[in-house]
């Protein structure tokens, strides 16, 4: 079932690791400075307030220390990173024909235009620092759905943009949110009007081509009252020997009675530092789901968060992490309950293979006065090899004693009896192991759209090749 992609070392045979012969039309000098921030703002022809916002964020970034409580970031050298690379003059092309051919071919190779025709409501494609393509189906446009690059959002919908931008994740939140606020480029601006249900997913696809580039997408999603949307982001890049850096900020506002879902399939190559802040504000009787799949990168620190700020708000966080040799997935989620009769869950499934390390890091906070909160946390870790590692850091701050809080954590090893049992029915050992892993993540994977579930299974099979025996 996996005859095309059986490889021992994914780092050498990473399917998406090809490099395009594309030179940026403009690239900032290496390193981070006030001059670089001003240049980014200049290239985007921004209003003055945004430049001021960026410069203030830069100061906040510089004042904050590198966090040492999580994954090892000592290898991340900001002086060796390009903070902006503009791939082409035209942003947000509405037709693939208007995208430069070499870049378009890449997205065709990744199957994006085809998926757009078949199963998506809209696609945004970011290449290095800019969104080169953005399009959403006509009938959704007619219903008032906005799905454009964050830059076009600022340009054309400035009032709406300004009402929400940086209100969910302010620059002060953490060092990398401050960094993103200073140098953000690309990402989506999404608005779903009251009562509009976007049935097929919107997808944003992030591709980094230039070596040693930092990508700083900034996405703002507003789901108005009673509306529904599912947004998916996917990420890949070439394999370079030097490190790359991805640091996004995702802000989501889910208004009364709305439903939203944000799915990440992160499959960066193993030279990528991936430090992302994702947060949703969930209002009265609204619902938000984070589905967070971290398979790639060298280091990931990512804890999607939901703030349940009005009565009846609910949120679930489903997380899958796969850490192979050389990778540290420090992932999890945060649920903050600031209103009564709110609820939610975190389900985390991590797999560590070789000397890979996965950490579950989660926070459940129930504020005093938030009555009858119901929350459940389940984190399960599967270790494939003797040297594989997992850690669990579950933080609980429960200030109201009417809360019902459940917490379960398990650590298991790939079980020889299960392997022998499956083998005795004819499955080769590798396939037996991959099947057990797929079964392990099934409770989360079944929430994925079919195409992504198939892709995830394929990736897991690939990663499990040669893992046992």
């Amino acid at each position: 079932m996996s005859e095309n992609f059986l490889v021992e070392d994914i780092g050498n045979e990473y399917k998406y690791g090809f490099v395009d012969e594309v030179q940026p039309v403009w690239k900032a000098e290496k390193g981070l400075s006030r001059r670089v921030v001003e240049a980014i703002s200049y290239h985007k022809e921004e209003p003055a307030w945004m430049l001021q916002f960026r410069l203030k964020a830069l100061e906040i970034y510089q004042a904050k220390p590198v966090p040492t409580w999580g994954a090892d970031l000592s290898g991340l050298n900001m002086d060796e990173i390009y903070f902006y690379a503009k791939p082409t003059e035209k942003r947000d092309a509405q037709s693939w024909d208007e995208v430069p051919e070499a870049i378009r071919r890449t997205y065709e190779r990744l199957g994006i235009p085809e998926a757009e025709r078949r199963v998506l409501a809209g696609v945004g494609a970011q290449y290095d620092s800019e969104m080169v393509y953005h399009q959403v189906r006509e009938e959704l446009k007619r219903q008032g759905v906005i799905f454009v690059s964050i830059e076009e959002g600022l340009k054309h919908y400035e009032d709406l943009f300004r009402e929400y931008f940086a209100t969910v994740v302010p620059p002060e939140d953490n060092k990398y949110a401050a960094l993103n606020s200073a140098v953000w480029s690309g990402g989506s601006f999404v608005y779903v009007p009251k009562g509009v249900k976007v049935e097929l997913p919107l997808q944003a696809y992030f591709r980094v081509n230039t070596a040693e580039l930092g990508q700083f997408e900034r996405t703002l999603i507003i789901v108005d009252e009673g509306a529904e949307v599912h947004y998916i982001e996917g990420c890949t890049a070439p394999v370079y020997t030097t490190d790359s850096f991805h640091s996004g900020v995702i802000e989501i506002v889910v208004n009364q009675g709305a439903r939203s879902r944000y799915t990440t399939i992160q499959n960066w190559p193993h030279n990528m530092y991936n430090l992302v802040t994702q947060r949703a504000i969930v209002k009265k009787d609204a619902y938000h789901m984070w589905l967070d799949g971290n398979l790639g990168s060298k280091v990931t620190m990512k804890y999607p968060s939901s703030y349940l700020v009005e009565e009846g708000a609910r949120s679930d966080i489903l997380s899958i992490a796969f850490a192979n040799t050389g990778q540290h997935q420090d992932a999890g989620g945060k649920l903050i309950f600031a209103a009564s009769h709110t609820g939610g869950s975190i389900v985390s499934k991590s797999i560590s293979k070789g000397s890979g390390r996965s950490s579950y890091r989660g926070l459940i906070k129930v504020y005093e006065g938030a009555k009858h909160v119901k929350v459940n946390v389940e984190c399960d870790a599967l270790l494939i090899n003797e040297e594989s590692r997992t850690d669990t850091y579950p933080y609980m701050e429960i200030e109201d004693d009417t809360a019902t809080v459940g917490h379960e954590a398990t650590v298991s090893r790939l079980n020889d009896e299960q392997i022998f049992y499956l083998q005795s029915r004819g499955l080769p050992e590798d396939e037996a192991a991959a099947l057990i892993v797929r079964g392990f993540i099934e409770p989360v994977a079944k929430e994925l759209p079919l195409e992504y579930a198939v892709e995830l299974n394929r990736l897991i099979e690939l990663e499990m090749e040669g893992s046992v025996g």
Binding site: Q423, S424, E431, G439
Partner: protein, 251 residues
């Protein structure tokens, strides 16, 4: 080519541990069903696992031949592809993996080619009908939360779908009530024919009322000490194993 499963002077031990099989000799011709009986700790289940290739055991002497060909060097999956099947005494739970999806993968792995949904479904239907079972068992996760009886019945369903040439049924009867026992026997009897041989490992004579064996072997302390027809099982049921143990000592 020999049409039989042959166990030749088989010695085996737990990896880096105690010797369990101490020279087992046994031949199951294709088309026949043989029973292996014996007291607890005789090595009956070990025999089944060693034939299936459980990596927890190592063969120190002797051979196992399928239709004249040694399978000792083959992994458990390769043995399955040669036509062997072990119905486990304790079927293993695999959460998140659906029973039917797994079975289709196993059938495809065994055949080395795609099996159409139609063909697979027809096989399932036939097995379910024989076992008087409804389809809900197919979408459940493999053995996960199954009752003891469901697990045993599921092993027989797997056997019927995978159609092995030689099946080893390791205490498939233990823990079953009489109705479940009859269904399991019905499944095994449905497999009976010139192209199917089986080794029925059991403690009790009871199942042999429903699956009449062509031969009965008695195992004591890692060896077959006596063999006979179905009447031997009756004798064991009446007299217990003491006389066989004495026989073993005398040998």
């Amino acid at each position: 080519m020999a049409n039989e499963l042959e166990i030749r002077n088989l010695h085996a031990r737990i990896v880096d541990g105690e010797a369990i099989l101490k020279g087992v000799n046994l031949v199951v011709p294709k088309g026949q069903i043989h029973a292996v009986m014996g007291p607890n700790g005789a090595g009956k289940s070990t025999l089944g696992k060693v034939i299936a290739g459980d990596p927890g055991y190592e063969v120190t002497q002797g051979d196992i031949l399928v239709d004249g060909e040694s399978i000792l060097e083959l992994g458990p999956d390769e043995r399955a592809r040669k036509g062997l099947f072990l119905a486990f005494q304790y079927p293993v739970e695999v959460p998140g993996v659906s029973n039917a999806n797994f079975l289709r993968l196993a059938l495809q792995a065994k055949r080395g080619e795609e099996v159409s949904v139609q063909e697979f479904y027809a096989k399932l239907q036939k097995a379910l009908e024989t076992l008087e079972w409804d389809e809900s068992i197919l979408t459940r996760y493999l053995n996960d939360g199954f009752s003891g009886g469901e697990k045993k019945r599921n092993e027989i369903m797997h056997m019927m779908v995978l159609e092995p040439i030689y099946a080893i049924l390791d205490e498939t009867d233990s823990g079953l009530d009489i109705d479940a026992l009859k269904l399991v026997a019905k499944g095994v009897n449905a497999m009976r024919g010139p192209n199917f041989g089986a080794l029925l490992i059991t403690h009790y004579q009871r199942i042999l009322n429903y699956i009449v064996p062509d031969a009965v072997h008695v195992m004591i302390d890692g060896r077959i000490v006596t063999s006979g027809g179905p009447e031997l099982a009756m004798k064991l049921e009446e007299q217990g194993y003491d006389w066989v143990k004495e026989l073993a000592l005398a040998n």
